[in-house]
């Protein structure tokens, strides 16, 4: 994974806005690329986007808070997503999620104090054939049992 850009560096976000500003409906794309580069969307970045586009901050904030993939807080180095789609749920992903939180002392949607982990209950990732499924960054773990969880987490 590429290094994240520090929030103080506003040149990158300005360049992203400049690249897209003439495309109709560009705000979503700008927010997506900004989050990709910076890791999250703190108020400073939203304000810069609003100023550069010449639209009110409320509009940017409204969009950034509407979609679940935009985050206003930094995520952990390892992002865990336990799928709570229906296929995973009926095959027992809820106990998997509880076990993960149990071991790491995490709460869904939060990041640990040391910045190492963040845990989310995700929507269907579309790997229903492997249910129940958990992702750690880009690694997919399928056909999980609660017993395997400690061993998987130890690898990180």
């Amino acid at each position: 994974m590429a290094e994240l850009i520090p929030v103080e560096n506003l040149d990158v976000v300005k360049a992203i806005v400049a690249e897209h500003r003439n495309v109709p409906g560009c705000l979503m794309q700008i927010l997506q690329e900004t989050q990709n580069d910076y890791g999250y969307l703190p108020l400073e970045l939203q304000r810069t986007i609003a100023d550069e586009l010449g639209i009110p901050l409320t509009e940017v904030y409204g969009v950034a808070t509407f979609y679940s993939q935009f985050t206003l807080k930094p995520k952990g180095k390892y992002k865990i997503g336990v799928c709570l789609g229906t296929a995973c749920y009926v095959r027992g992903s809820q106990p998997i999620l509880e076990k993960v939180n149990n071991i790491l002392g995490t709460v869904v949607g939060e990041t640990t104090a040391d910045g190492k982990w963040s845990v989310d209950a995700t929507r269907c990732v579309g790997a229903c054939g492997l249910a129940p499924v958990m992702m750690i960054n880009d690694d997919v773990f399928g056909r999980l049992t609660v017993k395997e969880i400690p061993t998987i987490l130890e690898k990180y």
Binding site: G25, M28, Y67, S68, A87, A127, C128, L130, A131
Partner: protein, 599 residues
Amino acid sequence: MAYKRSQILICGGTGCTSSGSMNLAKELKKELVKHDIIDEIEVVVTGCFGLCELGPVVIIYPEGTFYSRVEVADIQELVEEHLVKGRPLSRLIYTEKGDGHHPLSINELGFFKKQKRIALKNCGVINPEDIDEYLGFGGYTAIEKVLLTMSPQDVINEIKASGLRGRGGGGFPTGLKWQFAHDATSEDGVKYVVCNADEGDPGAFMDRSVLEGDPHSLIEAMAIAAYAIGSSKGYVYVRAEYPIAVKRLQIAIDQAKDYGLLGNNIFDTDFSFDLEIRLGAGAFVCGEETALMNSIEGKRGEPRPRPPFPANKGLFGKPTVLNNVETYANITAIILNGAQWFASVGTEKSKGTKVFALGGKINNTGLLEIPMGTTLREIVYEIGGGIPNGRAFKAAQTGGPSGGCIPASLLDTKIDYDNLIAIGSMMGSGGLIVMDEDNCMVDVARFFLDFTQDESCGKCPPCRIGTKRMLEILERICEGKGIEGDIERLQELAEGIKASALCGLGQTAPNPVLSTIHYFRDEYEAHIFDKKCPAGVCKHLLDYTINEDTCKGCGICAKKCPVEAISGEKKKPFSIDLAKCIKCGSCIEACPFGSISRA
């Protein structure tokens, strides 16, 4: 092109990729080089074959030998046996459960026998990242036929005559939708064609499989739609959760542009068409067409009131046709084979096929395409191979959070749009989740309400407040705090929300609750009046006990218990203080002798 004596197809769908199929491809090529047969054998990474349960899947042609759950460590032997010596490696050939029969070709598998592939015709057959393979299978001949021999109205008439209905869930006649957009006037002449690939229903992944396995068929179909309504610009709105799909679609768009199949003056006609991908950002409501258009415009994905309908005033205020991926995936076949051919498949009012993503408690999880009118029993027991671990079928859930649970007594229902609505469910986008006796129907209803309540955009009060109130009642019931009248309260709220919510999400949100109350009322009553969960799912309604006869008194459970509810003397049976017990289940997991049970 050099002659190849054999083709090895490796599934590169999301399911098999997650099981490591990309490493298999690398290893295969390495082995083929080692044996110096790389020039005579072709390795093709394809889209989804459908049988995700058995992934990673490898099929070797010309025989069509079906190898399942192949690992990197198997590759050396597979190449030596099958490709060098010409002996199929029986150890890895998939055996259908029960009969021990080794089918040598995939067409003999029960999973494929009852299927009819129209929308998925190329999935798992061609390399989706190579436009030449799509062309080799007749690709872009439908758009050629349309542009050179048909008028826009001819195209619309053909689609109308085919009886194709929207595969995203609503089932609106596709030809009629195109007609409305064709007839609509746009002041500056601008119209849009949009594809809804924001497949948000949990447990549904058919659109993803088309994007990953046959992206060119979508591009071609959207170009046909654009010609029919008089548009020159299209958008595909894809969930950001589908990185492989987005990548392959982009590759396909770039290749089509290189070949002049997208862009200006396609086939040297006046017709021009350009296509752009827009990514979603995780909002279920954006599967609703007006919300989706707001999202493409860079706004909050809230639905708009109708009228005006998108056909007159849609994306950026212009006339717009919006169809789902699977709907588009049927278009080229209709154009090439004719409306009569398509209409000969299916039932009276639901023509053609439907793709289902089969998941949950079922042996063959995966993707299947069946003619409309196939019964649920055929899907579950013949294609799906029945329920694992000898458990009994309890319900099939269709339509995702908008649908309902179908009980065993209705397994012989012939699946089509109207029959499913008649039994309190709906077609939806095609998720089909099977549940067995270990799944609690009240908990399932709570699960879906939790989902819709969380995904409600908050614009209209019936959905924002109503689903929240319903969820609170369901949570209360699952915690053993249900009171008399809760079932009736749920029904009353449900009817109100259905009648007054602004968009499809709210109007259908109560369906899982209504259908489970209708078919499984006894389970609700057991929770409310007897404070019992018959399926053993709702934690608060379970009591934990230690079997005195098998407990060895090791004390491991007492150490694991987070609230010190377990006590006892070493080497004598321990006991649980139910007043302290928080029913977390740690003790069951910890006990090495399986002496703790819940009921």
